[in-house]
Symmetry: C2
Subunit: 421 residues, 2 copies
């Protein structure tokens, strides 16, 4: 790392930290006004944002980016409007800061309360999806945190144009411009430098594919809210209603195959295999899903391919599913805890005892009874916009919204108490 880059990044961190002093105390109205003014600025700047995006797209095409990457990079008028609306939706959320989580009085008369406060400075490292610039910054601002954004280099000009609108929103509300900063260089070394700013950044949120997250996990000296992978399971219990199981399994796998809550492995109880296995598998095959099964599953339809050991631990993010017979709910829990990624698992059953065994036994962020794993989403949970889903267990588990971007402090009010002894 060059001395110049070190100075640049340290300065960014120092300015973010200074901004937190004001942000932490900023009234809800000021934060919401900044979000709404930024939304208005995005709308009025739509032409400039589209122009900057066209420049990124042209460079991306010349660089030979894949069609999927170009699609993520593209900002259509509808996507620009969605960014603006997203900021307005964040403005409409309840302010998490200042909420009293608990309060009690000690025998000596001291009144103690546990009060929500912002974390401080959040660093977001993401791929070339320019909309993340607005979404992530909006969530950080609402929760009273300063944001340092580092997007993929291919979206640099798009992000700069969005940043200009965000900065105008801050100014209109009288909030410091340093509340939202963007790393002003596309140098790859800047990510490494950012991951060592532990004096200035309280938590890093990597948003992107597995390789980006793995790099951040390996290099970071700062705590992370990370999403590694979603190897999600649906277990159809012996006491499952067949019609419900068919609908839920098909939705859990096929509604969208590329999201982290998509089911990757179907476990079927041996007790209902004779009646349930064939229709479940044929629904999937008929919908265009590749099925990789164990011996029993292969026996129900010749289109089923043989699963290998690796299939039980694979996140396909595609129209592929692994299917296995298990011997009851305890075996299903054992399979999930051995092969899963502690993300999201569902049981389909009419048996409340089996359901509780599964819900309690699976060591996962989200466990569902008679519902699709595709509900693993902060919006679907009614938590509002999310900056991501955490597969870690500390602090934030599952959807990471404005509440999870906060911490707390203990406020003690006394009348001159001293500690005896």
């Amino acid at each position: 790392m060059t001395a110049e880059l070190h100075t640049l990044m340290t300065d960014l961190g120092r300015r973010a930290r200074a901004a937190t002093r004001i942000l932490a105390l900023a009234p809800t109205e000021a934060k919401d006004r900044a979000l709404r003014e930024a939304a208005a600025a995005i709308r009025s700047d739509a032409g400039a944002i589209a122009g900057a995006n066209a420049r990124d797209m042209k460079a991306g095409e010349a660089k030979g980016l894949s069609a999927a990457m170009l699609d993520r990079l593209l900002l259509t008028p509808a996507r620009i409007e969605a960014m603006a609306r997203g900021l307005e939706e964040i403005a409409a959320l309840a302010d998490p800061v200042g909420r009293i989580l608990a309060q009690w009085t000690r025998p000596n008369g001291m009144a103690i309360s546990r009060v929500v406060v912002p974390l401080g400075v959040i660093g977001i490292i993401y791929e070339s999806r320019p909309n993340v610039t607005a979404d992530a910054a909006g969530l950080c601002l609402k929760s009273g945190n300063a944001a340092i954004l580092r997007g993929g280099s291919e979206s640099f000009h798009s992000s700069l144009a969005i940043m200009a609108a965000l900065t105008r929103g801050l100014a209109a509300a009288g909030l410091p411009a340093d509340a939202i900063q963007m790393v002003p260089t596309t140098s790859r070394e800047a990510v490494g430098a950012m991951l060592r700013l532990s004096d200035f950044i309280d938590v890093i949120v990597p948003r992107g594919g597995k390789s980006l997250v793995e790099r951040v996990v390996a290099e970071s000296r700062i705590p992370l809210f990370q999403h590694l992978e979603g190897i999600c399971h649906t277990y159809v219990d012996g006491a499952a209603d067949l019609d419900m199981a068919r609908q839920v399994v098909l939705n859990a796998k096929m509604r969208r195959t590329g999201i982290c809550g998509a089911t990757e492995t179907l476990l079927v109880d041996g007790a209902c295999a004779a009646t349930h296995l064939k229709p479940l598998v044929e629904d999937l095959l008929d919908a265009g899903c590749e099925v990789r099964g164990d011996e029993a599953t292969r026996a129900v339809d010749s289109r089923v391919k043989a699963a290998t050991e690796a299939d039980w631990s694979t996140e396909y993010l595609d129209s592929i599913i692994a299917v296995k017979l298990v011997d009851g709910v305890a075996a299903a829990v054992e399979h999930v805890n051995t092969h899963g990624s502690n993300h999201t698992e569902a049981i389909i059953t009419e048996d409340a005892v089996a359901a509780e065994t599964f819900l309690n036994g699976c060591d996962s962020a989200i466990v569902l009874w008679n519902a699709s794993t595709q509900f693993a989403d902060g919006g679907e949970f009614g938590m509002g916009a999310e900056i991501g889903i955490s597969t870690g267990k500390l602090h934030a588990r599952g959807p990471v919204g404005v509440e999870q971007l906060c911490t707390f402090k203990y406020v003690v009010r006394g009348s001159g108490q001293v500690r005896p002894g």
Copy 2:
């Protein structure tokens, strides 16, 4: 690291992870029974524990350990009894596992609850204080976590003897022996190996002095609940009652100087310096405290030494205090946030507005109004025994008790819901 050590440590981790499957679901009665039986075993093994400790003490003396280290290592009959009573007190705490933190129903009928579950496997790395073996293991067990303990090598035999009692407690309650494990070697490399067991350990708690914590922070690939330092401030505001200020300041500094909640810097508002500064400083001097002050402070008593810039950022853990005049509450907050360690700060004032400015403005885990900073302690907060105090902001902030050793999961109960769109 030798292959042998790697195998040993991985095996320890694997067995701890396997034990979590049972511990997470263990009924409160089983955990409490194990704790009470372990307490009984410590009492009936008191002779054997004292014998093992005598062996450690003899080796420690031969090795030339300092008097302070030998005192920490020593297990008197009273200290052995305190360990047993500590386990009984943990048994009497409410079980944090299974508590519902929040629940709500979605428009589609899905009922969502956020339920407390154990973190999984906790690693504790501590110095040669054998009582930590019982205290830390007890807190992990109560919160449904498996524990991997690594104490200082000088206390190895004492810890082994305590472990034997803990293991008997587990057996009496029908809980797996692997719920509490001790690293079975005094090799220094074992700590490094433990800090890389990120597949098997969910969080590491380093307990000890700054050099131990700094080593763990530098090497760990596992999230930490760490305590770095407590540079705690007491600010005497212009509107402080002088008698109250004198009592609280003296207690905050001198009750015990070696604990993390001891005040290290006294800030006095220029507005009351003429009346308050001299009595506050003389109380401290008369109690045997060395006072290092700015120019104004040196003017009130010839015994005051000159403070250097380093004094504003020093955790003395001794009968020394730094004293400075500041220009009102905003300047006090600025000083605290610049020089402090985000631990514990107090304001003494009769002015509610100044108090709120201080309580809101200080970015610290604990902020007190008209009370001594020496209350920074889980027991004093009524939270029961603590495994330590965290100066981090994520997950656990302030006292780390059984609640902070847990995480949560989302449990969703539906009736066949699929996600539209």
